[in-house]
């Protein structure tokens, strides 16, 4: 009897999973669409977002991860691959008056809302007024605050033209409507005005809950279903894709259905999903998971078909940043230079990063456009740059041969380098020269004990903390590389792993010595001021105090008069009309920052944007770089619009 019970239980344990599994269709997507998988494009979402039902994107706090690009439009897009200024809802460039207090915009004609109404100047006027007056709870990305700051008034000057009048000069006012990630999205005035008119007393558009079935968009897709737990969202192509903005610009129509799905933070799960045919594109993974994808999904590829595979041109770079009020020794620029020269960048880029990211010694990634604007013009300055090792010995720290060394490494491993080393692996970097580093530390008053350990001027073992967040693979590995190399050099390094929230909070209050953030001083366009204005000394907060309430970025606790003057000078320059002057100021900024080794910048962002061509083809590639492949940015919509069925 007992034996029978036990056997039955064991039998059940073995057979139930088999039966349950076989009883189902062997696919794990949570939705089914008419026409099946051939009509569905499945993309990797960046986040899992629990609020999925309210599509009032202009409201403060609403998440935008990706659905903005599928549905919403603004005046201009910035392509990260080429730096091109793409006219979206605007028909041309912004036109300013002489003192930058007025901006005129001609609007594109022939773009229709998904209900058939044509986009026109009324929509622009209504949007600006609504953002300024009807969202007392604040708006997405602080748009209302930024419009208020310049007292932006808008008037219709024609059915397809508008003029903005500002209360004070702003040569960059148009950037509020220039989207890399997002920009001020236009509202369908014929829909939202009616909603506003019917709000209950005391309510505003901040309280407006926009249901999916009432959605009217300029983009190519409308939401039709979603998971309340935040794992997925399903979109359907509008009936007239040719009249959406992306349709008008590209001439493509895009897949009939798009499913955004979140498989979790574990990279390997994305690889498994792709191998199962349940993911057409993912936005990034570590190199190990990417190699798994290559092994398990024969139809998958990334930007390059072979080494170095990954897309190298997202506009951001990784750096070791110093809290100048943390370890008192790193407040000394000689110490910071010594730390830079104790890093072997070739080893870092190859052994730790896998040889798949571009090197940069400045806080600007060497994308084709930015390389042309920054790295090339500054190359000679970098070669000529000298630092004082002590006793008047001048030293040239820059090594322009770094890309060639990485190329040689790649060839040793049997890879073919797809282009000139500088185009593939970035620019030169600082020499790996521990003798020079040693001289600099001696100059700063440090010494070595008998075991080769560095001692502070007080005779204590010099201990240095590096904090890093593992959720950004390359930044984390860069930190590990630096920790290993500095330890090898004789420094007592503590490498501390923190979750993102704690790590960023430590940044805000200055509770770190060295950290591994990412940034770019320049936008994709090359303009610098928007990204560095927060470094002005007026936003300085001492270590121990939170800098966020001041609004700026005092991560490093720097107070540099030279930088302040450059920031002030850049502010009043129009980045388009006065590009040369703007760039000259930006170069000076980079030079001052670099001479003082404020950060040790190492590599640019790479992304393993990887897609499977089993169902869809036409994604941009290194051979056919028509649009940026970063589909989660606004400009990525054009790549989606160009997809066609493989069969």
């Amino acid at each position: 009897m007992v034996r029978k019970v036990v056997l039955l239980l064991l039998l059940a344990l073995l057979t139930v999973p088999t039966l349950v599994g076989l009883a189902q269709e062997p696919q794990g997507l949570p939705v089914e669409v008419p026409g099946g998988r051939e009509n569905l494009w499945v993309f990797d979402r960046i986040y899992r977002l629990p609020t999925e039902a309210n599509w009032n994107i202009w409201k403060s706090g609403i998440h935008t991860a990706f659905f903005h690009a599928l549905m919403h439009e603004t005046f201009w897009n910035r392509d990260q691959e080429t730096g091109a200024f793409i006219h979206a809802l605007a028909a041309g460039d912004p036109v300013y008056n002489d003192d930058f207090t007025e901006m005129s915009v001609d609007l594109r004609q022939g773009v229709l809302w998904s209900d058939g109404e044509e986009f026109n100047a009324d929509d622009v006027v209504y949007t600006i007024n609504a953002l300024r007056n009807s969202y007392p709870g604040g708006t997405q990305s602080g748009w209302s605050v930024q419009l208020d700051e310049f007292g932006a008034e808008v008037e219709k000057t024609g059915d397809y033209s508008v003029k903005f009048t500002l209360s004070r000069s702003n040569p960059r006012f148009h950037t509020l409507f220039e989207s890399r990630w997002n920009g001020i999205y236009m509202m369908p005035s014929h829909v939202v005005a009616e909603v506003e008119a019917n709000l209950a007393e005391g309510e505003s558009l901040s309280d407006w809950f926009w249901d999916a079935e009432d959605m009217v968009v300029l983009g190519n897709y409308l939401p039709i279903d979603w998971d309340e737990n935040g794992y997925w969202q399903l979109f359907q192509r509008r009936e007239d894709p040719e009249n959406s903005l992306a349709g008008v610009i590209t001439g493509g129509s895009g897949p009939p259905y798009a499913l955004g799905i979140w498989y979790g933070n574990e990279n390997i799960k994305k690889a498994i999903a792709m191998s199962r045919g349940e993911l057409d594109v993912y936005f990034d993974v570590d190199i190990e998971s990417f190699e798994t994808t290559l092994d398990t999904t024969p139809t998958a590829r990334s930007w390059f078909t072979a080494f170095p595979w990954a897309y190298p041109n997202e506009v951001s770079s990784r750096a070791m940043s110093f809290n100048l009020e943390g370890d008192p020794l790193v407040a000394n620029k000689d110490v910071r230079w010594a730390l830079a020269l104790a890093i072997n960048i070739v080893e870092l880029q190859t052994e730790y990063i896998g040889g798949i990211a571009k090197v940069t010694p400045i806080n600007i990634p060497p994308t084709p456009k930015l390389q042309e604007l920054y790295h090339e013009p500054l190359e000679q300055w970098l070669i000529d740059l000298q630092i004082d090792l002590g006793d008047g010995e001048m030293y040239n720290p820059y090594d322009p041969t770094v890309p060639d060394q990485i190329a040689a490494w790649a060839e040793d491993y049997g890879h073919t380098v797809p282009g000139a080393p500088r185009d593939v692996f970035g620019s030169g970097w600082w020499k790996f020269d521990t003798d020079a580093a040693e001289k600099l530390l001696m100059k700063a008053g440090l010494s070595r004990d008998g075991g080769g350990n560095w001692l502070t001027p007080d005779g204590e073992i010099w201990s240095l903390d590096i904090q890093s967040d593992p959720s950004e693979n390359d930044a984390y590995r860069m930190g590990q590389a630096a920790a290993d190399m500095w330890a090898e050099f004789g420094i007592d390094v503590n490498f501390i792993t923190l979750d993102r929230s704690t790590w960023t909070q430590n940044h805000r209050v200055g509770a770190f010595e060295v950290s591994t953030p990412w940034q770019s001083f320049a936008l994709a366009s090359g303009d610098m001021w928007p990204n560095v204005r927060g470094y002005h000394s007026k936003y300085y907060a001492p270590s121990g105090e939170d800098y966020n309430p001041l609004g700026g970025d005092s991560l490093r606790r720097q107070q540099e008069t030279v930088l302040d003057e450059l920031i002030d000078a850049m502010e009043s320059v129009n980045p388009v009309a006065q590009e040369e002057e703007n760039l000259a100021l930006a170069h000076e900024f980079v030079k001052h920052w670099t001479e003082n080794m404020m950060d040790i910048t190492t590599i640019a962002f790479k992304k393993f944007v990887t897609w499977d061509e089993k169902y869809w083809t036409g994604f941009p590639t290194a051979e056919n770089p028509n649009y940026q492949p970063l589909y989660w940015f606004m400009g990525g919509k054009f790549a989606i619009q160009n997809l066609t069925p493989t069969s």
Partner: protein, 332 residues
């Protein structure tokens, strides 16, 4: 009357005290952490873009006021109790202004469905098999079973889950990689079968370890119990084995096992974070994790409140029900 005054009422008072202290501590702890929900929200809202520092400053102040975080700690505490008294857990900061009750209501059914099922299955299977293996400890099947369980039990949950994913999801592709169901929720076999299909692997991963634990516990208790005089006497008196094990041995080993069951059921409200993450399965665990990560005070407090009430109530019920399970428990 004496029973009510000296036994039941003090325990009910204790229940209220535990809940009050639990809520107060839960209110304070997130606010003592360095994570500020407004900064987390603003970081997300301004990611990938640049913003004028002055505008950022204004936006931060507006958001603090909107979330009521510009008030003093005492004011926030009083406001929280006022809301709680009318069943309002406040808005989520991370998903403002979505009510916390709505967020919990969306996630909790998945957790209850998963953990209630797995707790009952693992408890029943573990206790039954463990008791049998303890009583028939000389039988070959019992020894084999015990050895298998002893090997499985120390294996970390993560490893068991990964092995299941690799075999049944990645290689055989029998089970899905993510999600809880397919289609619109309905009381139809079509929908329920997808619930079983999507939930099977997460459930199996939990059941394996939990059954092993309960098997070991039940076997140990039974092994101790069968050495008792009354069992040997019953066997000598030729009482049927089935009766000995079910009515004598099992009943006497039941007290700690019922306690385990009740507390496990009470802990359901904490969720199964690792299971949810590994199997990308919906539930309250991830909601809580995310809330802690982003300093979403109201969500943390809402879920913790449920957990505190769940565990305190389970403990209270056990206390009150002990005499029914074991006649030896008496009020003196």
């Amino acid at each position: 009357m004496n029973l009510l005054r000296t036994y039941i009422l003090p325990r009910i008072f204790q229940w209220f005290l535990v809940v009050f202290i639990g809520i107060t501590v839960t209110f304070l702890i997130p606010r003592l952490s360095p994570i500020n929900p407004v900064d987390e929200i603003l970081a997300r809202m301004t990611a990938f873009q640049t913003m004028d520092p002055e505008a950022f400053k204004t936006m931060r102040e507006t958001t603090l006021a909107l979330y009521g975080l510009d008030k003093t700690l005492l004011e926030q505490y009083v406001l929280y109790w006022q809301r709680l008294m009318v069943g309002d857990l406040g808005p989520s900061f991370g998903n403002f202004p979505r009510p916390v009750t709505e967020i919990i209501a969306t996630a909790l059914p998945w957790t209850i469905g998963l953990l209630l099922t797995t707790t009952i299955i693992s408890w029943t299977a573990g206790v039954l098999l463990g008791s049998l293996a303890g009583y028939f400890h000389n039988r070959r099947w019992a020894q084999v079973f015990e050895r298998v369980v002893v090997v499985i039990y120390p294996v970390p949950y993560l490893i068991i889950a990964f092995v299941l994913i690799l075999i049944f999801v990645a290689e055989l592709k029998w089970f899905p990689l993510m999600g809880g169901s397919r289609g619109d929720a309905a009381l139809t076999w079509e929908y329920i079968s997808t619930l079983i299909y999507f939930g099977f692997m997460p459930a199996l991963s939990v059941v394996i370890g939990a059954t092993a634990f309960r098997f070991i516990m039940a076997k140990s208790l039974t092994t101790t119990e069968i050495a008792s005089d009354y069992v040997q006497y019953a066997e000598l008196a030729a009482v049927p084995k089935r009766k000995i094990i079910l009515f004598y041995v099992a009943r006497n080993t039941m007290l700690p096992q019922v306690t385990d069951l009740a507390l496990s059921l009470g802990l359901i409200f904490e969720g199964a974070l690792i299971t949810e993450v590994l199997f990308t399965y919906p539930g309250i665990g991830f909601v809580l994790y995310n809330a802690i990560y982003n300093g979403d005070y109201n969500v943390i407090m809402g879920i913790t409140l449920l957990s505190i009430i769940g565990v305190a109530t389970a403990a209270l019920l056990i206390d009150l029900l002990y005499p029914l399970f074991d006649p030896r428990v008496r009020l003196r």
